[in-house]
Amino acid sequence: MKSDPHRAVTLPLLLKKEEPAPVLPTDHTGQDAGPVVPPAESVGKELSRMQIERRRSTAWDFRARGEPFVWGLGGALAVGIIMILGFIALVVYNGIMTFYPQPLEVVSLRGGGTVAGELARVESFRPGPDILQQLPEDIRARIGNDKGFARRFLYRTGNYDLYNEDFRWVPEYDVVKRSTPKELYFFERLEWGPFIGTIKSIDLKDVVVDGAALKTGTLNEAMDQAAARRSRIRQLERNEMGKINHYLERGRLALKKVEMTHGEHSPQYRQAQREYREAAAKLEAQHAELSKEAQLIKDQDSKFTVTLADVEGKEKTLKLSEIVRFYPANSLTFTDKLRIYFSRWWEFLSQEPREANTEGGVMPAIFGTFCMTVLLALAVAPFGVVAALYLREYAKQGKLVSLVRVCVNNLAGVPSIVYGVFGLGFFAYVLGGSIDALLFPERLPNPTYGTGGLLWASLTLALLTVPVVIVATEEALAAVPQSMREGSLACGASKWQTIKYIVLPRAMPGIMTGLILAMARGAGEVAPLMLVGVVKLAPELPIDSIFPYIHLERSFMHLGFHIYDVGFQSRNSEAARPMVYVTTFLLISLVFALNAASIMIRNRLKKKFFGGHF
């Protein structure tokens, strides 16, 4: 061992002044904090010097400092975050922009003919050799310059009834002229998707007004009246006549029940039959009256028509009431655009879907999702909390409880479709089938509870999400300090009182968080629902004005399934794409709102139960 003259001098000097033990010469401050420095004149001086040396060398060692790992971890995190953010940004951007009115372009084509529509997308493509062959020399040269690529535009042309397509690709080299004429209108119709064109003339029962001479005031007034007629017809046919049909059906079933219990020739049956006939006659009379009224309005309605013409001059006459919304896309002010934007959102949120779900609103799906989530929470909360309470507070902690815990955790990993199969097999067929046989025998063979429905879907999802609640509740219970329980027991409280007054309130934030996470998970789940009650189009909402008001047996619509259905099962996936974005945006917002609510509730409760300082 070599001695170090420098240290030999400084060490005793420093120590004499009763200062902290000396460290290294200060060129590496920070790297050498707290090395073992022996007392002055100790034998360990040399050794300590070596230790310092070693520490210094490892401190500068690149790998020992773990730098590459930090970079790797950071990179992985960044990739994950960028992917998630990118996805969310895409959904949010498209979801927000879809309803904003776009300008309409009219394109004159090289070979004659015009195309009018909203520009949906632009992309590069490589025209095939046979197409290139037919192109003029200069265009061919230009494509050659661009390495064989040309651009093309996708226009949403609408007018599906005239041309059998909603969208049309236009290669850039075919375009002679693009313009945005002010008199071009965008019509949203009840059927056949949008119409893009001009107003040729309008027939208001006995006055025919030419499109060019039309004042917006007259048109808007006529449109409002048409909308009123449309909603009145709907009210009559869907609600009032629907209700009468419902009562007729109910009477018929009641009669059948009497027949099943008393027999066809019993006096009770004859009595019931008489009553039924009387009631039915009354109802049918009402029905006939309503349908007459509806027919009257319909006749009236068909006298108000409008004749539209597209850019190629093809005409189409339709009833005014068939038009949902129209606007001159190229002469809108910003406020006009905003008004259209919000009216579309309102329609989306408050109306029923049209056109195989690709247009209109998603209100039944929102409503169905909401009802299902609430029922799910009602079902999962007591089960999950009670199970966790028992596991954590009452069960003797041992092998068996650990096993149960592992099973519960594994339950969360079972594919959700398996739950769907179970839900269908057990809830719908076994439970529902028994309920039907017991309570609704007169409706058989038509199932009431014996098929998928709101109740079974909620219970299936409750089963699916119960592990989330159990795990969260158990953690929350375990986090309640033992000292609080002891304090309560020392006050003479029983175990149950301690749980009720101390443990549960204190664990409540954690339980709530678990519950809302379960709700968020359940609200976004689709696969099992396809088996246990979600449908593409539900004729009735699960809650309505017909006794008993809440119909848990009904099938329902769901936002998640709606996305799948619109995106992959519809006639024209290109036309449905905006709907997919908007619905996804809505569902993500819903889940996001649930999570935000959970965080807020948790923080509020936390303030209440965790505040203070020791």
Binding site: M484, E486, S488, C491
Partner: protein, 269 residues
């Protein structure tokens, strides 16, 4: 000890008298699983007196204290042997109503453990678990307990505030108020002042002094001066054994066992 039953609630009455024995611990052993923590402890606690338990860390003071109100029941794998007799009942005997037993005792823990509820609700908790709902009774109890615990003046305007918002010392006095709210016979205190500043400590010592005679107090402390100041009797424990037990003046001035002298004079422990 007499027992009297009023509206379904068992009430223990213990006869007064400064030299009467309230609690006697007889050959008490205790095991945490395989390790024995108490060895053959035998002592009697006099009614109305303050008894201090002293001894080095880990000697079993808390264990002994928690055995008295069967707080140790919560620990799995616990075994006991011997007797602890309260009045005339062996509290480890069969058919003992543990909850009723705990109702006759108040306990103050080393770390303040207020419940996450209002100050008033904290103090009235022992009464409310007994099913008392009468607001007047509850309010009176809260007032009395807080006054006794020297906390009333500080909290009288915020009785409905959450108790977790109090300072550490206030929380500890709140826990004392809670412990005496139901008017127990015995007050068990496990290092009640270890988290407190000297002012709060002095207040609590005053309180103990005031409660002397009304309650039987058993206090665990690491502070020799405190033990000397507040207690009438002192028990010195070491490694799970009771080494010496007697009048505080004797233990501190003229102990019989060497180890005790070393400990109380601060030369060992």
């Amino acid at each position: 000890m007499d027992m009297e039953s009023t509206n379904g609630q068992t009430v223990y009455h213990i006869k007064k008298g400064p030299d009467g024995t309230l609690l006697s611990i007889e050959h008490f052993d205790l095991w945490y699983g395989e390790t024995q923590a108490l060895f053959d402890v035998t002592m009697t606690v006099e009614k109305g007196f303050v008894t201090a338990l002293i001894g080095p860390s880990g000697c079993g003071k808390s264990t002994l204290l928690r055995s008295i109100n069967r707080m140790n029941d919560l620990i799995s794998g616990l075994k006991t042997d011997g007797k602890i007799v309260l009045g005339d009942t062996d509290i480890y005997g069969p058919n003992v109503d543990v909850i009723g037993l705990r109702k006759t005792m108040g306990m103050v823990f080393q770390k303040p453990n207020p419940f996450p509820m209002s100050i008033a609700d904290n103090v009235s908790y022992p009464l409310r678990v007994d099913g008392i709902r009468n607001r007047k009774v509850l309010e009176e109890t809260v007032y009395n307990a807080l006054v006794h615990a020297a906390l009333w003046d500080e909290v009288k305007d915020r009785l409905r505030d959450n108790a977790l918002g109090l300072s550490g010392g206030q929380q500890q006095r709140l826990c004392i108020a809670r412990a005496i709210a139901a008017d127990p016979e015995v007050l068990l205190m496990d290092e009640p002042c270890s988290a407190l500043d000297p002012v709060a400590t002095a207040k609590i010592e005053d309180l103990i002094d005031e409660l002397r005679g009304r309650y039987t107090i058993i206090i665990v402390t690491h502070n020799m001066q405190q033990a000397a100041r507040v207690s009438d009797n002192t028990a010195f424990m070491y490694l799970g054994k009771l080494i010496e037990y007697g009048r505080t003046s004797t233990i501190f001035t003229n102990p019989k066992v060497d180890r005790t002298r070393l400990y109380v004079t601060g030369r060992f422990g």
